[in-house]
């Protein structure tokens, strides 16, 4: 088996993930691109575990397992934040989110008062 094949696949997947994170505007698509990058890292870990002889066996597999768990936690919290963003601003385009709320008038929000949007959904 030639270890260079999975390594190159992982590098290409990582590059595609970086491209997706930088180019996509929708926050959910951004999270998908992050998943691609995490998978590329996992692939490197598994390949290294299968091909490099070390004194402590299966470390790469254990780390990949941990990264999968971390990715599940990350996507849970990330989607909660995305849904809250949608609830407040009626949009999940990441380049329309103001970086500071110092002057909310020039940020052209879809709903000018976030408090009302939250309150009217509360039963």
């Amino acid at each position: 088996m030639h270890p260079v094949i999975p390594y190159v696949i992982a590098a290409l997947l990582f590059g595609l993930g970086v491209y997706g994170v930088l180019v996509r505007r929708n926050a959910v698509l951004l999270l998908m691109a992050v998943e691609l990058m995490l998978n590329a890292v996992n692939l490197v870990l598994v390949t290294a575990d299968a091909t490099v002889r070390v004194s402590l066996p299966h470390t790469g597999n254990v780390f990949a397992l941990f990264v999968i768990v971390l990715a599940a936690a990350e996507v849970g919290v990330g989607l909660a934040i995305v849904l809250q963003l949608y609830r407040v601003r009626q949009s999940v385009q990441v380049d329309t989110v103001p970086l500071s709320d110092a002057d909310p008038t020039d940020a052209e929000p879809a709903d000018p008062d976030p408090t009302d949007a939250v309150l009217e959904r509360t039963p």
């Binding site: 088996m1 030639h2 270890p3 260079v4 999975p6 390594y7 190159v8 696949i9 590098a11 290409l12 997947l13 590059g15 993930g17 970086v18 491209y19 930088l22 180019v23 996509r24 505007r25 959910v28 698509l29 999270l31 998908m32 691109a33 998943e35 998978n39 996992n42 692939l43 598994v46 575990d49 299968a50 091909t51 002889r53 402590l56 066996p57 299966h58 470390t59 597999n61 254990v62 990949a64 397992l65 999968i68 768990v69 599940a72 936690a73 990350e74 996507v75 849970g76 919290v77 989607l79 909660a80 934040i81 995305v82 849904l83 809250q84 949608y86 609830r87 408090t115 939250v118 509360t122």
Partner: protein, 176 residues
């Protein structure tokens, strides 16, 4: 050292082509739901790569957690944010910077790894469930426990972030 291609090599090249092609579709498609479905193909192909690398347990964990749970969560988020079903043209920002950085990092890393490994041959060491369980619960048991605390924190955090009444009360206190 033989340089001939084995069946595992051919399998990995095929699965890698599927994974990279599907990943390319994920980051370039103009329909949001299709991006999620292409993500299933890409993650499934990566699970197949794990199988070809003799890491069975990880392959099935990948199918269960990524393809089963994470993609379903992402599709739920697509639905809950009322994403447009058809073709939408405003999904991408200008692509020049993304192409430069993404292509540069991907191809640069690929060139680095090709230069490091050339066409060397290795027999993959199989990592069965028993050996992996021994490694997790002997050597890495403390990080495993810390990870369970992290999962609990993420669960509580997700609930707190997504509960509307908590956010409303804080906003009301700030306003008064």
């Amino acid at each position: 050292m033989t340089s001939a291609m084995t069946v595992a090599d051919a399998l990995m090249i095929g699965l890698g082509a599927v994974a990279v092609g599907a990943a390319m579709a994920v980051v370039t498609t103009r329909q949001i739901v299709r991006a999620g479905l292409w993500l299933v193909v890409a993650l499934g192909a990566v699970a197949g790569l794990y199988l070809a690398l003799a890491a069975e347990l990880l392959a099935w964990v990948q199918v269960l957690i990524y393809v089963g749970a994470v993609v379903v969560l992402l599709l739920f988020a697509v639905m809950l944010t009322r994403a447009p079903i058809g073709i939408s043209d405003d999904l991408d920002r200008p692509r020049a910077v993304g192409l430069l950085v993404g292509g540069g990092s991907g191809l640069g890393l690929a060139a680095l790894l090709v230069d490091a490994y050339r066409w060397s041959t290795v027999d993959p060491a199989p990592a069965g469930a028993e050996a992996l369980g021994t490694a997790v619960f002997r050597t890495w048991v403390l990080p495993f426990e810390v990870l369970s605390v992290l999962l609990l924190a993420a669960l509580v955090g997700a609930i707190v972030v997504s509960r509307p009444d908590i956010g409303a009360r804080t906003a009301g206190e700030e306003g008064s």
